[in-house]
Amino acid sequence: MTDVIHIKDLEKRFGTVVALDGLDLSVTQGEVHGLLGPNGAGKTTTLRILLGLLRANSGTVEMLDGDPWADAVELHRRLAYVPGDVELWPNLTGGEAIDLLGRLRGGLNQTRRDELVERFDLDPTKKGRTYSKGNRQKVAIVAALASDAELLLLDEPTAGLDPLMEVVFQDVIQQMRREGRTVFLSSHILAQVEKLADRISIIRQGKVVQTGTLTEMRHLTRTTIDAHTATPVTGLETLKGIHDLDASDGRVRFAVDGEHLDAAVKHLGQYGLRALTSHPPTLEELMLRHYGDEVASGGER
């Protein structure tokens, strides 16, 4: 598999503000890659650099075997983009904006366009100024997804969509993946990335602090165990890698580091297990490891 996007040691400053501070990232062909981070982490800046709208201060950026800054126009024929904040022309209808953007890119798939308009329940006859935020977003999504672009760059694509539309969006993205297209999307909505992304990069303060599949990341983190036992559990605190232990009347709850899970479960077995639930770390917990105060000391690799 080849890299569609390859970024190394990317730096971008706005005056004295450092937006990207040595960012490394690679997106493989055919994958859905999620860029996850809080507001202001540098997600939009990264995407704008990939689009050649911003110029990097240093570092190398390669996309589709080209230089996003120098070969912008050539590369743009092969990609489609959905901005995070969609602004439309007040006196153009949504349908006109979709067609125009498609034509500017070099053509759009008419059948798919009509199908997407239908699926997203978009009224293409309304003027840009009358659309709500969610509907403006739909216009941009339809314009991008109706193209035959091999790479999709999506900046918080569903931030304004309702849950039903989000499901439609996820469906369409799965379909894109099956067609072999590469999708690079940013989000601070964890559940969405979790459902869609093959791989995830977590970005914080202009740096990618972790990349991998969700499974790989979970391996690195803690599992929460909730157990009911016949007799009260003792001696757990003596084991390695146990955190946040909370025990009361035959019920015990704790978090355990990935590599010590086996030992902990074996220990519980001695007290007669009646019920056992374990939660893999959610992305919230993954994020907390990187952004939460408690983890400030040990979270970063």
Binding site: R55, Y81, P90, E96, L100, L104, R129
Partner: protein, 553 residues
Amino acid sequence: MTSTVASPLTDRTIPKSGGPLTGTGILVRFMLRRDRVRLPVWILAIVLFTMASVVALPDLYPTVEDRQARAVLMENPGTRAVSGPGYGLDDYTFGAMLSHEFLSWVVIFVALMSLLAVVRHTRNEEETGRAELVRSSLVGRHSTTTAALLVVVGANVVLGLLMALGLGSLGLESVGWGSSVLFGAATASVGLVFAGFGAVTAQVSESARGASGFAGAVFALAYLLRAAGDMTQVGGGLLSWLSPVGWAQQTRAYVDDRWWPLLLSAGLTVVLAAVAFWLSTRRDVGAGLMEARPGSPNASKTLSGRFGLAWRLHRSSVIWWSLSVFLFALGYGTLATEIERFVSELSVLQEAIAEIGGTVIDAWLSVIVLVFAVVAAVFAVLAALRARSEENSGRAEPVLSTAVSKPSWLSSHLAVALIGSAVLMSLTGLGLGISASQALGDSEMLWRVLGASLAHIPAIWLVAGIAVALFGLMPRATVLVWVVIAYVGVVGWLGALLRFPDWAINLSPLGHTPLLPAEDMVWTPLVVLTVAAAALILVGLAGFRRRDLQSTA
């Protein structure tokens, strides 16, 4: 709150007196805070410009004969169309001249200030969604409109008082205090009426642009009615009395000092405000009374590519500018025969015209063409700077993420600026040329005026080039191009009259264009201007290619 069970909490938080006007006082202060620069600038600019023009009168018309020569000009219906109905002509004092000829110009700006301010505080707030935030708090149904009207009424009262004070304090012969107060009141009356129209159109249209445009069109209609009425007979005809602008003029300040026509303006203002309040109860917040018509679900063939987009964005502005320029040019041309007679009787203008050279008509035409050139330059800058607002609003981003390069995107807006301004100058030449050659019975004149107009194109392009260069190199400083426009305007309009030094005139791009048909044609400056414009444009394109895209998002 529809709950019938009054809890202690709701009793405390919702004042019993909460009516449709709750919160008006706070909103007034809020609006004043937001307009603390804008309104004072409008008011001071209008008052100072009027005062400056009045101060120049004794120099321009030093003798009674000069003034009477001017009065004779008012016998022409065309002249009355652009000035006033014609009164006080037997003894054309400075005061008579001031109220008869200036009022019609001053009220254009007063009306604009007022209707824009009302729409800005009402419909624009609703369109952006900020009104929702305000209306969700302790604010009554009619508070926003009431507050906006109070602010604009206040602004007009201040404007009227300052106008009265300013004019009265000049101590000019025949410009007394009492009449100055009437003049100020007449000025403000037009502002009040069009604040009322703004309040009404803000209810009707869903967009602020639409509401301002609608109210502006009503003003244009009022102006045309008055012009038509004043043309029919000296003193104003029936149509003059159908127009709020006509009412203001019929006060005949400094001549007859009639206050009663202002009762009509006051009455109409009250009616308009009442209509606005009534209409606002017939609609939802954020919605207009005019349903937004659905548009085309597909883009037409012409809406394709960057030039298709640029044309679509600039289309209505190009059409309106072209139409207005052509009609005004046509109108000015009809004055050609009067001008000859008028200027021959006026010593000061003769000197100014002698400086330009050629016959009186040629000199006058060359000055008029220059005025239109400044107008076309304003259009060119507005069109070029559209790129800046597209960039700022974030609308450029989706376009530039397609197969459109930054320079080619910028050049699509630039093309409208360059071609559009060339079209405007062609229409100037045609309009002015057709009517002037008709009036003078000299068919040759059409071609000479057309040539004179086209000669200004390189200088206008240079101004557009400055705008583009600023956009490319110093995007945050693009507003500076208005300084260039202001300079070009002042030098162009007043340079010859006020006898500016040569270097000051040469500093203006338009100062290098030969003033055809009065002067002889010289090609060198035109070639130099064109090359300089091209260089600036290339610099701007290269600068934009190299810089980051900026957007507020």
